[in-house]
Symmetry: C2
């Protein structure tokens, strides 16, 4: 079978679609005929050789496809349409997926749409609910609202919690899209001071929850934007990692909970439990069309390099998927 | 009646025992004849005029005493022995206490002992269980183990969770005392690198929970000491507030939850709920003598200045109380 690997650690041009050995199934694994996979920033780090924990030479952490071998598992049979996280190896014709994290696909969705769900919706669900404990009608600031996780988080926070949602993005087109997905207040971070806008939108109270993909360059404005007892979830450092002169007294004064998180390096058990909890709560929203995966563009898997370049140029609204 | 106020914001010498108006009862308040109160670092900040939220000119946030007027409350009658947090005014002959946070005193305890419970045991309970979600048999690093909160946290973590407890302190006497209270590993921070000792005591895993009273000067060593998915609770900045460089990627890589907290400025509802939850879980431990308040020394209330100086010299193991 074929799969995408990086010939050498480096740029997108290193990606090649090479003949690779079939995946080895561990007990409890399903063998999946991959129909679609999707691009994540972790894939870019992996391509660059910057992930310590990637064992599989084939890139890719999520797929949608059909069960090719259920390996005796009682809940799945050959031909079932499933989606889910994999431990690497997603950009390929076949992949092994632990059955306990396989999610049955909503009937209404195509494989390209379903491949756009696992990583970003599980991350949005995990950060909003497992980590930030978002409550009904609370306020949430979602940075990079037009990103994959952003578009998922806006929809979940609105439909599951009727949250007051404030998002930032860098273009009118992206902001309009966030608004359409359910954001109440949209802020162009290139033209507006988002902290001022957040305080105005919340009667100077600040937001209960921040999903922060940006890190260092937003530190002070995020601090201004958060309410007392706010939960600040750090899931990316696109604006740098190092913050100078952090005041711990400020963190105490606002009683802030700051949590750093990453999904990919977590344990199999965690991913299984998260997948189960998520799909049990969100499946009907997908079936009813109240929540939907946002696919910006789909490339054939042979053009994985172009797909990476597209993400690196920040062109996308929502997900970039690969058709296998 | 008389109460301790600061004549001017400043040092301990500013404290005087002055004739003051009787407390005004709000609906739901008990009037307490104070028998004992206790010294907290927040009292020192208050004396120095550094607390924005202190309205009562009389210093003091916790008392033990007898109910003088139950104000019609069905659960309390005149003469009941109670302890609890007050909204200022503790260093006095009488104080108003919201009934919903009054805790009945265990029979075995004197007033001086009971006055040593509310602030530090509620803080220890809140940080370990409400914030850090300490689980059975987890590992916890408790800095300033011989402090009021430290001595409370060691006992609670051991008796309620059978935790593996690592504490730091600055003298052999304090470390021996921590060990006697239940600490498994004791570290003299003046002589040992606590991060190295913590890693050795946890098979290089690090601790699940840190109670941090120190802040900036321990930042890097605390980071080294914490396990993946660790919860780091910041409740003091005795070692400074400003950290020169914080790496957000490090916080993400270890998936750390860093929470700043303070008890005194929290809402009445929060204090009531915390007091109820705490006493429902811990009352029997006090009755059985499995957990006990640690009183280092008791001063007469007329010597409140000496009591403050004693705390400022870091001489105490456990609490400093004032007999009224």
């Amino acid at each position: 079978m074929k799969g995408i690997i990086a010939e050498k650690p480096g740029g997108a041009e290193q990606l090649i679609y090479a003949e690779m050995p079939e995946p080895t199934l561990e007990p409890g694994d399903l063998l999946i005929d991959v129909r679609a996979t999707a691009v994540n920033r972790t894939d870019i780090l992996n391509r660059e050789g910057r992930l310590g924990y990637a064992n599989n030479p084939i890139i890719g952490v999520e797929v949608a496809g059909e069960v090719a071998e259920s390996n005796g598992h009682p809940d799945f049979k050959k031909g079932d349409r499933v989606m889910g996280l994999v431990n690497g190896g997603g950009y390929a014709e076949k992949v092994a997926m632990p059955a306990d994290r396989a999610m049955k696909m909503p009937d209404a969705l195509s494989f390209e749409e379903a491949a756009a769900i696992p990583e970003v919706f599980l991350t949005a669900y995990q950060t909003l609910y497992w980590i930030a404990n978002l409550q009904e009608a609370e306020t949430v600031l979602i940075h990079a609202g037009a990103s994959g996780v952003g578009t998922a988080a806006i929809q979940l926070a609105k439909v599951m919690s009727n949250a007051q949602i404030i998002t930032t993005a860098g273009s009118k087109e992206k902001l309009d899209y966030c608004h359409k997905l359910g954001a109440d207040t949209v802020i162009n971070y290139k033209e507006q001071d988002f902290a001022e806008e957040v305080l105005q939108a919340t009667n100077q109270k600040g937001v209960d929850v921040i999903l922060d993909f940006v890190g260092a360059s937003y530190w002070e404005k995020n601090y201004k934007s958060i309410a007392v007892d706010g939960r600040w979830v750090l899931i990316g450092v696109l604006g740098g990692s190092t913050v100078n002169q952090v005041s711990l007294m400020d963190i105490m004064a606002k009683r802030i909970q700051l949590t750093g998180t990453l999904l990919t390096p977590r344990s199999d058990e965690y991913k299984a439990e998260l997948s189960k909890d998520f799909i049990s709560k969100a499946f009907t929203y997908f079936e009813q069309g109240k929540v939907r995966p946002v696919v910006d563009i789909t490339f054939p898997i042979t053009e994985a390099a172009e797909a990476h370049q597209y993400m690196e140029a920040n062109k996308n609204i929502g997900k970039i998927t690969l058709k296998v």
